[in-house]
Assembly symmetry: C2
Homo-oligomer: 327 residues x 2
Amino acid sequence: MSEIFVGIDLGGTNIKIGCFDSGIKLINKTSTPTNADMGPKVVTDKMAETVEKLLADAGLPLQNVSSIGLGCPGPAKYSEGIIESATNLPKFKNAPFRKMLSKRLGKPVVFENDANVACWGEYAVGAGKGVKDMVFFTLGTGIGGGIINNGKLVHGGGDNAAELGHIIIYPDGRLCNCGQRGCVEAYASANATAKRATEAIEAGAKSSLKKVLDQKGRITCKDVYEHLKDGDNLAKQITDETAKALAIVCINTLHTTEPKRIVFAGGMIAAGPILLNRIKDYFNEHIWSLRKEPVEICFAALGEDAGITGAAALAKQAHEECKLKSG
Amino acid sequence: MSEIFVGIDLGGTNIKIGCFDSGIKLINKTSTPTNADMGPKVVTDKMAETVEKLLADAGLPLQNVSSIGLGCPGPAKYSEGIIESATNLPKFKNAPFRKMLSKRLGKPVVFENDANVACWGEYAVGAGKGVKDMVFFTLGTGIGGGIINNGKLVHGGGDNAAELGHIIIYPDGRLCNCGQRGCVEAYASANATAKRATEAIEAGAKSSLKKVLDQKGRITCKDVYEHLKDGDNLAKQITDETAKALAIVCINTLHTTEPKRIVFAGGMIAAGPILLNRIKDYFNEHIWSLRKEPVEICFAALGEDAGITGAAALAKQAHEECKLKSG
């Protein structure tokens, strides 16, 4: 009997589910609306039914499933399997979600922060393969993070480690949504990148992006990188600031947990080498001269399947460590 | 037979050695000049003889010693027990120091970075007692660090994690000895604190410290804190800048490995509550409003015995983990 691992990526809008073999190779996957307003009981049932259907479609019996990984936005008491107060899952407050799903499917469930899940996916089968120490950033609306130390996820004293978007790089700088000033997220997330471009144009900077702003009423991060490729000077300046902020935070995490690889994921990496190379340039410009640091800075490899892949990989790892609690 | 653990703190000038009981309570201790220019063989012999004499003085047989901890400045290949190129131990380059001492005394030796050793001491029996996640800073000539994650020292991918003094808090700021700009060490070490005061006076700032500079030709960090207590305005401003830099780095490490306690050690903590309270003030001013962080910020408890205590505690831990290599 070949082992199967299921990975679930629970978001506020959609639930993505994938079945994986013991090498964490995707067998099949699906996606269904979360309907978070129906509350945890209904969502749990739907999630379980979708898993059952996905297995049936692939001709796999549920009994072959060794364990299930579930990634979910925080804040949550991950070790207890309880969602505390995730902004986009308000009705899940204090629901014993891990236990509910485990009971419904009769399988052990590993419950983990969504950024940690994606981090683990890259570590296990993606851009982090071959190292034991890694730092991971997701560059999206905000900036999330994950840290692998000596082959294990760093959870911290209260399950809230690796809030890497809120490392302060410019004290008293731009106001972040979190209430701090000068967080890297306030400079280098996709939202912050678009916002800085918008502010610059509104302040009178010359740019081909002005036409976009005038026509669409807003600029996206994608617009910035498109105009960068077309040679726009403001887009170049905005990208440089983003890259520099990310390079500083690479240096700071290097001097903290000393990763061998730093992996960037999220929508913004669609910008491609033009962004990655600028991050590396600034890193090399700002890193110390004491010794050559062999850290690699790269983009993630798993794309939109990172969540389900990471959840399945985490389920496998926990299964192998014989540390699973079955609810 | 009661177990004994020996802790050795190897510095460029002195070797400190202590014998500890199984509760890591100091039995007796001694100090002897390192004479580093005599090379590793002579220093190893002297170290071993001093251990033997210390045990004899306390009426303890060598056979009661379970293991020995040795703290040493870096850079070193700690996992291999080799000093690479410590600035104040030039003749020790590539010496298999752990093996030499282990062979000479017939005991397993744990070899660790001196800042990590002090960190472990505070964690095991000092200011870090009772938590599993801690961040540790030594505020001296430079700023060193150590990180405990889930009850274990973080070593990083190349044995050089927790170079916390080189976290950049002001990109493009003051030049640090390491070659980077804007490191916390360039603002908040004892040296940097004294240097900033000196620069301010030379630039014309009014201060009671001017008399010290005129008379002694230099200002020390101790002078700054003494004049702070006497109400000098420049000393207050310099201290505020130091405290703010340390608070920012507290926030940044909190968002990275999420310690439950942050411990400051080193000569500078002699400044007392006047410094600690300012660090806490700036921490509270700059930390996010997303949730109340229950992290405690405090000063170290072990004083000048931190090195030998930490080395002995580490020896005990390694002994208990049955992971000791006897050379």
